[in-house]
């Protein structure tokens, strides 16, 4: 029983962290219509930034400033924001698919930079040497995981409430106006590019927060954590949950991650002995089928966008 709870807490922690990233993407795509194909880069910037600033001194790369945890976390978020600002200023005038391709390129460049710039990021071996806050004073790892879970959920809740308030504000209406008809918004004296850039940076910083939490939880980050698969996973969560709806995004994160992991568990449990070696491949097929099935059955997502969120 305690094992099941322990696993569920672990699962819910990872899901909450991913849900935060999904909320960031929802601000960009769901509300503003920005097709960010480089989620992994902004997530990764938060993760790398945290360990760079908050980790211990390592021989083979810079960093090791051992900053106070919240400062390091905020530092990672700011790094994501900075990258988003630079990328955004260069690409924000691009529309949907063009923006997607450009940001995808940014993510691949980010991964390759982390893989090769050993002095900066430890190269392909990744970055370690991060001490999880309070881990030494909490003897029981189970208790540590519960506390970290609560911390992640609180941050998820904070981000959710912030975004709910934001989309109900005049600024939120402006985002949707730009998403639906940019020319009309412009004719009313708004500056769409600036608003789009703001949404892009804020959304990316939320992804950076998720990345920071992720690196805290694993006390490690390597280029393998920021492969394009991550971008795909976050997108699948948003689309299945319901883009434009924050609750949908959170639900999607939990559901897709559950499908992703439970499919592996079920196969290892129930597949016949002879097929065990092929369960990895089967799992990919199952995950794909779940996503395709959802798109066919409910293309608007489980919780579709509400047309009227504020009067």
């Amino acid at each position: 029983m305690i094992g099941l709870i322990s696993y569920l807490v672990f699962f819910a922690t990872v899901s909450s962290i991913l849900a935060i990233a999904v909320l960031g993407l929802n601000l960009q795509w769901g509300n503003t219509g920005l097709f960010n194909g480089g989620v992994a880069a902004f997530f990764g910037a938060g993760a790398y930034g945290l360990i760079l600033l908050g980790g211990t001194v390592q021989a083979d790369h810079i960093g090791g400033f051992e900053l106070f945890y919240p400062v390091a976390l905020v530092g990672g978020i700011l790094l994501s924001g900075l990258i988003a600002l630079v990328v955004g200023m260069l690409t924000i005038r691009l529309r949907r698919d063009y923006l997607a391709i450009a940001t995808f390129g940014v993510a691949v460049a980010f991964e390759n930079l982390m893989r090769n710039a050993e002095w900066l990021s430890g190269g392909a071996q990744g970055m370690r040497g991060f001490e999880r806050p309070f881990e030494d004073s909490i003897a029981d790892p189970f208790v540590f995981n519960i506390i970290f879970f609560c911390f992640s959920v609180l941050l998820l809740l904070g981000v959710y409430l912030f975004l709910e308030k934001l989309i109900r504000s005049p600024f939120g209406r402006l985002l949707r106006a730009i998403r639906e008809d940019e020319v009309a918004a412009k004719s009313l004296g708004k500056a769409p590019n600036r608003v789009r850039l703001t949404a892009f940076v804020v959304g990316s910083m939320i992804m950076g927060l998720a990345g920071g939490l992720y690196a805290t939880f694993y006390a490690f980050v390597s280029p393998q954590d920021v492969l394009p698969t991550l971008t795909f996973q976050i997108w699948a969560m948003l689309i299945v949950g319901g883009s434009g709806n924050n609750q949908g995004g959170i639900l999607g994160a939990f559901l897709i991650w559950a499908a992703w992991t439970a499919s592996g568990w079920m196969l290892s449990k129930f597949a016949p002995i002879e097929a065990q070696l092929y369960t990895g491949t089967l799992q990919y097929i199952m995950i794909g089928m779940i996503i395709v099935g959802m798109l066919l059955w409910r293309p608007q997502g489980l919780l579709p966008e509400k047309l009227i969120v504020s009067q």
Binding site: L4, F144, F220, W265, I273, L277, Y284
Partner: protein, 423 residues
Amino acid sequence: MFVRFFKSFRCLRQALLLGMVGFSSTLYAQNCTTKIGAVLPTSVDWGRPIAATAQFAVDLANEAGGVAGCQVEMVLRDTQVDPKVGVDAAKALVDLEKVPVLLGAVSSGVTIPILTSVAVPAGVMEVSCCSSSTKITALAEEGKTKGLWFRTFATSGVQAAVGTMLARDQGYKSVVVLYKNDDWGQDISKLTVRSMKSLGINVTNSIAINDGQASYRAEVTEALKGNPEGIYMALYPKEGISVVREWLSLGGSQKMIMANSMKSDELKDSVGLKYLKNALGTDTASPRVESASKFVEMYKARFNSEPNGPGLANSFDATMIALLAMEAAGPNASGTQIAAQVGKVTDPKGTPITADTAGFKKAKEILNSGGSVMYQGATGNVRFDANGDVSAPAVAWSFTESGTKEERYITLDEVDAFMATMQ
């Protein structure tokens, strides 16, 4: 009607069960099972044989009567080479299946987060067949692995040293280094370049090879600059094939030195044996004990092919050592207790045992009477240092019609002495 249907269903089920017994021939009278977890990249082509070899070791132990009085069941999960997925799988194995030992993972990027966020906090022993990252040694030196970590894959130092030794013995004056652009490749190339330079061999360049490119012409052209006499490659077979072909077609030298990852039949067949006459490879295996050549025989008997993929012998030894330690620790032992027994099953002063069913049976007797054993496995006499790392004797190999053959055996003492001269 319904009853008849039900009855025939039961018959069918029994038949199926019997079929399974026949298939695995491992279910004995014991009615308890003990679980061992495996987190390996089974969705990747070269990961599947590694998992199959681990299962093979489990089957051998079961034929010898299992461990600690129970049959062993290996619960296998795929990592998808995604750290998130691997860590989740490991956590599920530890929490839901209650495994005291995890075998895996392959990529260090997956192995390290499993170690830091699952295995060590839960007190579960982790044995990897294939992770080579020196970062794990650093973790162990800081005491972060709490003695729960072991690997049967020698850190890249041994192979880099032996590669250098071969270049020196062949009299190569200048060498270009090509490496797979991941943690293992970066590590081994850095070490190789350093040791070659310390022996006065001119390293003309070291070039990263990224996975999955359609062509490596640009990299190979770059490598040809400076006209190196020989080429050192630490690549995986798929990229290795393209690189070697382009290297040769652009007039590169046939004086090649290859890391163990290129010991592949596919590579030999795709490139052509006649171009590989001067190619030498390195590996950390040590076919000096009976059990090692026996491993090759047993492997051939079971899988109908030579154990030529990367990490197979290591996976076999990792599993065997874990099982022996489980046996030594007795029933219902925790991961920490099992890890504490590893020294007892790899004791240089212990009774030598072979890595097969008979050896396992013998080990069980000795361990039960309080003795210690020296496991002689597919990679030789495995001996862990304080950080859970292995040093290993090495071999130089070359390609033959049927696979590979050993050119030269380099003893552990030779390896250690050679490595010492370079520091």
